[in-house]
């Protein structure tokens, strides 16, 4: 059942268009991550849902008693949403308990009831012992928990989280991600979560919406977004990849031969918008490059149906914690791959190696960054 529906939302600040036609729907109980780089419009989208921004165009609808209701012009206090702010925004003049009871108090809940509800939420975030503490005496992680409890105490239909973990150190962030996930499973509150951290999005999300340049590039379950990206931006933003400029050598119907700069080509089926001579971008994920020291056997067969085969020179090897990072040079193109310590390659910088990449692991994008294969 749809809880939130955005339709063609546009938000401008003077000449700057922060949100450029976002449409999105979120089901009850779902945790959706808005993932994108800084300044992509994801926070503005969230603030529009909360009611802090009024969009120039488009509508925001929230599920009410009789289906979806248009709340585009409602102020924040007249929407059944609650926001966890990036800097938590705890009231410094109130203690932890007063912070958590604030929402119910504003909604006219009786003192005893709102206190018991607050204690219940403090229990969920494991902060019952700090009920009397002043927010200023708490650590970042504790403030984060209180901010979450404060929003949850309202039992909102929709919980909005604006990079709530970005001010925490990495270890704490990872712990909190898992806790947030378990709280989500425990309470079943629908959440829209804004983050620029793809690991966080993959850990938490039921669905990920990748946002760039004020627009949603792709929405889908994490695996789909990662393995089957619609656009070059999505591919490049989710993890690292090798982007190689390639050229369409020839086309026969829906099949095309793609020519790579390192004197290698392969044949594949592509969208019919592709024409011979097009400049395209191929993405080769580092984990999909297999490297062997055997020479490329098939002589004239640098052309293969199964994928790419080519020779490369090992340029450098970097030890990075649990893995090695190898940089390979093929022709003028530099490619990166990595291996876990246990699976490290028995190669030294300067060695010539043969590299293979299955055709199923190669994604192609046209000039405008649209997926063509």
């Amino acid at each position: 059942m749809t809880l939130l529906k955005l339709t063609d939302v546009v938000k401008r600040y003077g000449d700057l268009t922060a949100v450029d036609g976002v449409s999105l729907s979120v089901d009850r109980g779902e945790l959706l991550c808005l993932l994108g780089p800084s300044g992509c419009g994801k926070s503005t989208t969230l603030r529009t849902i909360a009611g802090f921004e009024t969009p120039e165009e488009g509508t925001v609808e929230l599920a009410g008693d009789d289906g979806l209701e248009d709340v585009t012009d409602n102020p924040p206090n007249e929407r059944d949403t609650s926001m966890v702010f990036q800097d938590w925004a705890l009231f410094p003049n109130k203690n932890v308990l007063e912070n958590v009871t604030f929402g119910p108090k504003m909604h006219g809940v009786e003192r005893e009831e709102r206190r018991s509800r607050a204690y219940e939420m403090l229990d969920v975030v494991e902060m019952t012992d700090h009920a009397e503490a002043a927010p200023t005496d708490l650590s970042g992680g504790q403030k984060q928990r209180i901010a979450l409890a404060r929003s949850l105490a309202l039992d909102p239909d929709l919980l909005l989280l604006d990079e709530p973990l970005s001010n925490l150190d990495r270890r704490l962030r990872e712990t909190m991600q898992l806790e947030l996930k378990s709280i989500h499973e425990q309470l079943g509150t629908t959440m829209v979560y804004v983050t620029h951290d793809q690991d966080e999005a993959f850990t938490l999300a039921d669905r990920i919406a990748v946002v760039d340049d004020g627009a949603i590039q792709q929405v889908g379950p994490p695996e789909t977004v990662y393995t089957d990206p619609d656009a070059l931006f999505v591919e490049s933003f989710l993890g690292t990849s090798n982007f190689v400029d390639a050229r369409v050598a020839s086309t026969h119907g829906s099949r095309a031969t793609i020519e790579f700069p390192f004197a290698s080509r392969f044949e594949t089926s592509v969208e019919d918008t592709v024409a011979a001579g097009d400049e395209i971008t191929a993405s080769l994920r580092p984990e999909c490059l297999s490297v062997t020291t055997e020479a490329v056997r098939t002589d004239g067969a640098t052309r293969s149906r199964e994928g790419l085969r080519f020779e490369a020179t090992v340029d450098s090897r970097l030890h990075r914690g649990s893995r090695y990072r190898y940089e390979l040079i093929a022709g003028d193109t530099s490619l990166v791959t990595h291996r876990r310590i246990a699976d490290r390659l028995s190669v030294e910088p300067g060695d010539v190696v043969s590299v293979r990449c299955d055709s199923t692991d190669i994604t192609l994008f046209d000039d405008d960054g649209r997926r063509i294969r």
Partner: protein
């Protein structure tokens, strides 16, 4: 040991005392010494022929204050009531104005800030005559109100208590505005958003988030307004009538017209000590209040 080495040793050993010393010296020179002199004069014999009898001791000046034949007791009463009214109005006006300044953006904020500052930089007498031009029965305000048909008769805003209060408010309010604004400007705007998001209406968010944060600034504004208004002279003189007699006016009359320095000094001393007592009481009250809120 030379004076230089002794001074250096003092500065090195007690840097805090050394830093405060110039200020203390200044205070001693411009406040403590004159006030001591004032006290001494207030305890001299009153002598109609001369300003006061040097070298004599008497409580005549203080006894004169309590003499029912003059109106000095009611002058004192009026002064404190006047100061209290101005203080309350000043803090309320300043809080609203500072809030508007804080919430405003761009040009509006500049205009509001300039409004407070320019009025501060204007000499008091100029300011008060300007106020007369605006609020007198033939002034701009009344002409506009009557001309637009909102009022049938002009409001009486000069030569009465209302005039005195408006004039004094005009003098102290800019300082109060800046005192409150300096504190408000440190409020994180996301706190207001959080309050709104948690269901608070605009006025509720103001009361729950802005006011508690602004309290220290409001206290400073209150102290500035009160101490200044207790000593008010120009505003009640120019905008009030003869019955708006403050202690300042009475002291001036005693000094210059009646040439009764011991009585003038006694009145001045009484006012000053009352202000100090009021501030101490307020301080104690506030710290009590803090303790009880913390305990809740």
């Amino acid at each position: 040991m030379s004076a230089v080495t002794r001074t250096r040793a003092f500065v090195v050993e007690r840097p805090a005392a050394a830093l405060v010393a110039p200020l203390l010296l200044f205070d001693l020179l411009v406040f403590v010494a004159p006030f001591g002199l004032l006290l001494r004069i207030s305890l001299s014999e009153r002598q109609p022929a001369r300003a006061y009898a040097e070298g004599t001791w008497s409580t005549g000046g203080y006894e004169y204050l309590l003499d029912p034949s003059n109106t000095l007791a009611s002058v004192l009463g009026f002064t404190f009531a006047f100061a209290a009214v101005v203080t309350v109005l000043s803090v309320v006006v300043a809080t609203l104005y500072a809030h508007a300044m804080w919430r405003a953006n761009g040009a509006l904020r500049v205009v509001l800030t300039a409004g407070a500052l320019v009025s501060m930089f204007t000499a008091i007498v100029v300011k008060l005559f300007a106020a007369i031009l605006v609020i007198s029965p033939n002034g701009v305000l009344n002409t506009a109100l009557v001309g637009s048909g909102l009022l049938s008769e002009p409001l009486q805003l000069v030569n009465n208590a209302a005039g005195a209060v408006i004039g004094q408010l005009y003098i102290v309010a800019p300082y109060s505005v800046l005192a409150v604004y300096s504190v408000l400007s440190t409020v994180d705007e996301s706190l207001l958003e959080a309050a709104r998001d948690l269901g608070a209406s605009g006025p509720h968010a103001f009361r729950e988030v802005v006011i508690p944060h602004a309290v220290p600034g409001m206290l400073v504004a209150g102290v500035i307004s009160f101490t200044w208004s207790v000593g008010s002279y120009a505003a009640p003189l120019l905008l009030g009538s003869g019955s708006e007699r403050t202690a300042g006016i009475a002291v001036s009359d005693l000094l210059l017209r009646e040439f009764d320095w011991p009585a003038a000094a006694a009145l001045a001393t009484t006012v000053t000590l009352s202000v100090v007592a009021a501030l101490v009481a307020a301080h104690i009250g506030v710290s009590r209040l803090k303790v009880t809120t913390d305990a809740q």
